[in-house]
Symmetry: C2
Subunit: 207 residues, 2 copies
C-alpha cells in the first residue's frame, strides 16, 4: 500500500488532506494531555514543527481547531470501538464487543491520556459552546448505541425484561469511564481485567 502510494504522483490536494489528518492526529493526542482548551495553534505548531501561519491556513481559529480535533477523535473511536461493536450480533454480543473494544482502545494507548471523550466531557462541562455541544452529541450517540443494544438483548431474552435500556446504558458507560480513569492514573492493565469481568457478569442473565 505505502509503496504504491509513493509510486503514484501526489496531488497537491491529497497532500494537503494528508497533512491535515496528520496534524489532527497529533492534536487529538495532545488534547488528552493538555486538555482541549490547552490546545492552541501555537502549542500545536511547537508539537508538529509546523509554522503558526501554516496551521492558521488549515484552522482559522482555536475553536475550529478544537472542533476538527473532536471530529478526528470521533473517527478514531469509530474505527477502534464502534466498528468492532457493529460487527458483533445485536444484543449482548454487541454490548460485550463494544466494551471490550473500548478497553482495548484504552489499553492500546492510542492516546496518552486515555479515552479522548472522557477527558473532554470533564473539561468541557465548564466551557459552554460548540465544542462542548460536540462532546455531548458524541455521548448521546454512545448512550443511544448502548441503549439500542440493551433493548435488543431484552427482546432476544438475553437480559431480563426488567432492564431499563437507558439505565443499563448509563451503568455500562460508567464502567467504561471508571476503568479509563483508573487505568490512566495507574497504567495497570489489571484494572481493565476487573472492568472486563464486571461487564461480563453484569451482562449474564441470572437464570
Amino acid at each position: 500500500m505505502t509503496t504504491s502510494d509513493r509510486a503514484r504522483p501526489r496531488k497537491p490536494r491529497a497532500d494537503g488532506e494528508r497533512r491535515r489528518a496528520s496534524i489532527l492526529r497529533e492534536a487529538a493526542s495532545l488534547a488528552t494531555v493538555t486538555g482541549l482548551d490547552g490546545l492552541t495553534i501555537g502549542g500545536l505548531a511547537a508539537a508538529t514543527g509546523m509554522s503558526k501561519s501554516g496551521l492558521y491556513a488549515h484552522f482559522g481559529s482555536k475553536e475550529e481547531l478544537q472542533l476538527a480535533t473532536v471530529a478526528q477523535a470521533r473517527r478514531v473511536f469509530d474505527a477502534e470501538v464502534f466498528g468492532p461493536a457493529s460487527a458483533a450480533q445485536p444484543g449482548v454480543p454487541r454490548l460485550v464487543a463494544l466494551c471490550e473494544a473500548f478497553f482495548a482502545h484504552v489499553e492500546g494507548g492510542t492516546f496518552p491520556g486515555g479515552c479522548f471523550f472522557v477527558g473532554a466531557a470533564l473539561e468541557m462541562g465548564t466551557r459552554p459552546g460548540p465544542v462542548r455541544d460536540s462532546i455531548a452529541a458524541f455521548q448521546d450517540e454512545l448512550g443511544a448505541v448502548m441503549a439500542t443494544a440493551v433493548a435488543a438483548a431484552v427482546e432476544r431474552g438475553e437480559l431480563s425484561q426488567d432492564e431499563d435500556p437507558q439505565v443499563l446504558a448509563f451503568e455500562l458507560n460508567a464502567l467504561l469511564v471508571g476503568a479509563d480513569a483508573a487505568f490512566v492514573l495507574r497504567g495497570d492493565p489489571a484494572v481493565l481485567e476487573v472492568a472486563r469481568a464486571v461487564v461480563r457478569r453484569r451482562l449474564t442473565s441470572p437464570d
Copy 2:
C-alpha cells in the same frame, strides 16, 4: 461564632492560616476548571487578587502549591463525603451513605468542575511525580474504605457471599466517576438520580 471571632484580637499567625486556607479553596476550585497543571502561582495571583510574591511566600513552587491544593481538596472530601459515610452503620448503609454524599457533593457544586479527584486522576496519569502519587494515594484510600464496607456487608449477610470486595468497590467507584463526568458535562440532576437508583439496586441483595 463569627461575631466572637471578630471580637477577639487577631493573631498574625491565625490570620496567615486563614489567608492560606482561603487561597487553597480558590486553588482547588480553579484546578477543577484549568486542571492542576494549569494551576500556576501567576494564575492564582490573578484569581485571588494577591501578589505573586505574596503567594510565593505561602507556596515556594508550583509543585508545593499543587500538593497543598490536593490536601485542601482532601479536607473538603473528608467533610462532605467521608464524614457522612463514617457516621452511617458499617456495611450497606455506609456504602449507600458514601455514594449519596458523593452525589450531593457533586450536585451541590462545591467545585465548578465536579469531583476534584476525578479530574485530577485523568490529568495526572500522564504526569508522574509526587502530585500524581498523592492522587493515587487518595484513590487507594477511597477504594479501601469501600472494600472494607463491602466486606462488612457480606459478613452481616447484607450482600451475597459471592461479592468480591475489591471488585464491588471498583464497580461503585466507576458509578461515582461516571455520574460525575455525565453531570459535569450536562449539569442535569437527572443523571445523578439514575446513578442513585443504580447504586441502591446494586446494593440490594436479591433474596
